[in-house]
């Protein structure tokens, strides 16, 4: 059989495949509730064999680091066997959702701020509070940082590391063009003017070099900008705490640069995906999370990248720590004690800190951070130095995303692309995003 489409009946097959998943999910869902989570925490058993599953998102590099860490864990707990699995970000969440519906989430798995509310408020995650002090030590954590894993009074996740936003710049390209890097602490308007200057200098270059990409479609940057205006992003219930006019203002302020073709063009952006303009050596700056620096260096083929704070607004920098790579456990795990012990090992053990370096961000626990071996001029060192230097610019509380954030973030990015193609106006951008926010934020 070369082609399997044989009859008209098959028209429905595609729909059926989806339905199959949901039907199975539905029947499993009636199980409901969480049995294991309420059990009393006891020190992890050593007199019997225990099997744990550990799942994360990431690439091969991260996988080999995790494997190394797991080997250490299994040496410490000879009776525990950890089976591992990893996926890319998008597939990761599809699989986890299906598992959640079937009550078969892994014993320990990576969790993101964008999803923790959804999983926790639907009783999918183990409340680790009772494990604290028994199998899980959280004494070395900064309180607000630990708070990022708390939902409705329970501790449903523990962050591994912190990120903060930063501005990367490509020193090699700047040398070629003979332009100075952006000044530290420049304002958004100054940054825009700087981008314009570089793009003009790089216009005759082959391939053309741009000062930076269109950052308007990144929700986190908008949130950062909002904080700098003295506003808040989200209300307690997860709904937007800002006005449509704020969003329109954000979108409109970069319009002249789009009109003049100063940003790294969207056509090119779509073609080099999943790489970015900077990673193909055609764009000089990019605003993103600081732990991405290693990936950018690998893409651009040079470690000669600089790291600066994000542009400032009326109220200063107002940068914030974003807790990242939380670890969570399934509400249905048979081994809550061992699961907590594994999380404890991954976030606290100094050796593990050494293995991961800053690849997941700067470790949240000082013992891990201090254990890192920082070579002079290495990417790890740049990130750690950056986070130390930027610390006094970090003055805002972390805007914690609620349920549905992942969806509205994707919508923001999509609208940013439509904007770059000139398909929507600033008003339409704001209208459509608020529509999506209404449908997805604040629970239903």
């Amino acid at each position: 059989m070369v082609r399997t489409r044989t009859t008209a009946r098959k028209a429905a097959v595609h729909a059926t495949a989806l339905a199959a998943a949901s039907a199975l999910a539905l029947s499993a869902c009636s199980g409901g509730g969480s049995a294991a989570s309420s059990a009393e925490a006891a020190p992890v058993a050593t007199d019997r064999d225990i099997e744990l599953s550990l799942v994360w998102w990431g690439d091969d590099d991260r996988a080999s680091r995790y494997e190394e860490a797991v080997t250490l864990f299994e040496e410490k707990y000879p009776n525990i066997d950890v089976s591992t699995q990893f996926q890319a970000w998008d597939d990761y969440w599809t699989t986890r959702t299906t598992e959640a519906a079937g009550q078969t989430l892994p014993d320990v798995f990576q969790m993101d701020l964008a999803y923790i509310h959804q999983y926790a408020s639907n009783n999918q995650l183990l409340d680790l509070s009772s494990q604290v002090g028994v199998n899980l030590e959280t004494g070395d954590y900064d309180e607000t940082l630990l708070g990022s894993g708390a939902v409705n009074g329970g501790q449903f996740g523990v962050p591994t590391s912190t990120n903060t936003l930063g501005m990367f710049y490509h020193q090699d390209l700047l040398d070629e063009l003979g332009v100075e890097p952006p000044a530290e602490g420049l304002t958004w308007d100054e940054y825009d003017a700087w981008i314009r200057e570089v793009s003009e200098a790089g216009a005759d270059h082959d391939p053309q070099i741009y000062g930076g990409g269109d950052y308007t479609g990144t929700l986190w940057l908008f949130i950062q900008w909002l904080l700098q205006q003295g506003k808040t992003a989200f209300a307690e219930d997860g709904t937007p705490a800002f006005e449509k006019a704020d969003l329109v203002a954000w979108v409109e302020r970069t319009q002249p640069l789009r009109d003049d073709g100063v940003f790294f063009p969207i056509e090119r952006t779509k073609q080099v995906e999943p790489l970015t303009g900077m990673q193909v050596n055609e764009s000089v700056t990019e605003l993103t999370w600081d732990n991405m620096l290693a990936g950018y260096a690998a893409g651009a083929g040079t470690e000669n990248l600089g790291l600066l704070p994000v542009p400032t607004g009326a109220e200063g920098s107002q940068q914030f720590w974003k807790p990242s790579m939380l670890l969570a456990s399934s509400a249905n795990t048979q081994e809550p004690d061992a699961a907590a012990a594994l999380i404890d090992f991954l976030v606290n053990d100094p050796e593990v800190g050494k293995i991961f370096g800053t690849s997941k961000g700067v470790p949240a626990v000082p013992a891990q951070k201090d254990a890192m071996e920082l070579e002079d001029g290495s990417i790890d060192q740049k990130i750690v130095t950056y986070e130390e230097e930027v610390a006094d610019r970090v003055t805002a509380d972390t805007p914690l995303p609620g349920e549905g954030y992942g969806v509205v973030e994707a919508e923001f990015k999509r609208l940013g692309e439509e904007l770059a193609y000139g398909n929507v106006t600033a008003e339409e951008f704001a209208d459509q995003w608020f529509q999506s926010a209404e449908a997805n934020l604040g629970g239903q």
Partner: protein, 329 residues
């Protein structure tokens, strides 16, 4: 098709002398059939059971469930909540839904005719007598074997980016350059080209159809003074119309379900600017990225309905233009 083969198999199994006559009328002969024994019936169902189970549990059951879910608000986590026809009314107020319907409609109504024309043209070429015709047939069929694969979608993407094959060809002919992948106006032609390139399956069927046309019809027409074009229009097309109809149906239904190539080429976004946001793709996004299973189920049933209606229309119109050998009108 399957009914005929099982009937044939059953008769052959009975070892009756009538087996020989079934060649001409395989599905007939019910009058003289001896009553089936219970045991035979049971054995029949036993042999069918893998398929029956699969059909019931993996096809019919889930389909019914999705019909129910289409009227609910369901996010996989919480139990479905009945919302009546809200999902359906929301669909038609959703600009991205309308966009996905538009994208798919263009793909089907432009892509399918172009693909069939290409398949027919190649079939006509391969129907002529040349040396090494067998080798050509295999070669022209090859793209269809691999066309739906992930790797081809990746290669396709690579061909249509800046400085890719397509860009160089354009530049060679002095046309404005630039990749197609990042240009929302050019992604649809790119997707249609990918579909057309996989003309193998309809081509093989056309080729079989062409072989069935009796040579004497062409000869008679030629004797009457008809040129090649006239013969094509007045002999080949009418004689080929059942095959054409069959291909049209299959390709139309298939085109509505396009998913994986768009998913790969757009990097899972349906972009740029939603220009490759095919219907099934948007359905996937709603169901598995936004976890709105009720909404996705509603979309699935709208698709089933639309495909059903279009199939019915095709069957209706076929009376006017499809000629079966032996039909008396």
């Amino acid at each position: 098709m399957s009914a005929t083969t099982t009937e044939r198999g059953r008769q052959a199994g009975r070892g009756s002398a009538r087996g020989k006559t079934t060649q001409s009328s395989p599905a007939r002969g019910g009058a003289a059939k001896p009553p089936r024994s219970r045991a035979e019936t049971r054995a029949g169902y036993a042999f069918l059971s893998p398929w029956l189970l699969g059909f019931g549990l993996l096809t019919a059951g889930p389909m019914l469930m999705s019909l129910y879910l289409a009227f609910t608000d369901y996010n996989l986590f919480r139990a479905p909540e009945f919302v009546g026809i809200d999902n359906f009314t929301a669909l038609f107020a959703d600009p991205r839904f309308l966009k996905s319907a538009q994208v798919t409609a263009i793909y089907v109504f432009v892509g399918v005719p172009v693909k069939l024309a290409a398949a027919l043209a190649v079939a006509l070429l391969l129907n002529a007598k040349h040396r090494g015709q067998g080798a050509y047939r295999s070669m022209f069929y090859a793209p269809s074997l691999i066309g739906a694969s992930v790797s081809v979608a990746i290669v396709w993407r690579a061909m249509f980016i800046d400085d890719g094959v397509a860009d160089r060809v354009q530049q060679f002919f002095g046309l404005p350059g630039g990749g197609w992948v990042g240009n929302p106006d050019m992604t649809m032609p790119m997707m249609i080209l990918l579909a057309v390139w996989q003309f193998g399956a309809p081509m093989v069927i056309f080729l079989a159809g062409l072989k069935q046309i009796p040579a004497e019809l062409h000869e008679a027409a030629a004797v009457d003074g008809a040129g090649p074009i006239r013969r094509f229009v007045s002999v080949t097309i009418p004689m080929l119309s059942p095959v054409l109809f069959f291909n049209l149906l299959l390709e139309t239904i298939g085109a509505f379900q396009v998913f994986s190539s768009a998913f790969i080429i757009s990097g899972g976004t349906g972009g740029p600017a939603d220009s490759t946001l095919f219907y099934t793709f948007y359905l996937y996004i709603k169901g598995f990225t936004e976890f709105r299973m009720g909404y996705a189920s509603a979309m699935a049933w709208v698709l089933v309905l639309v495909v059903g209606i279009i199939t019915a229309i095709l069957f209706r119109t076929s009376r006017a233009w499809v000629h079966y050998t032996g039909d008396v009108r």
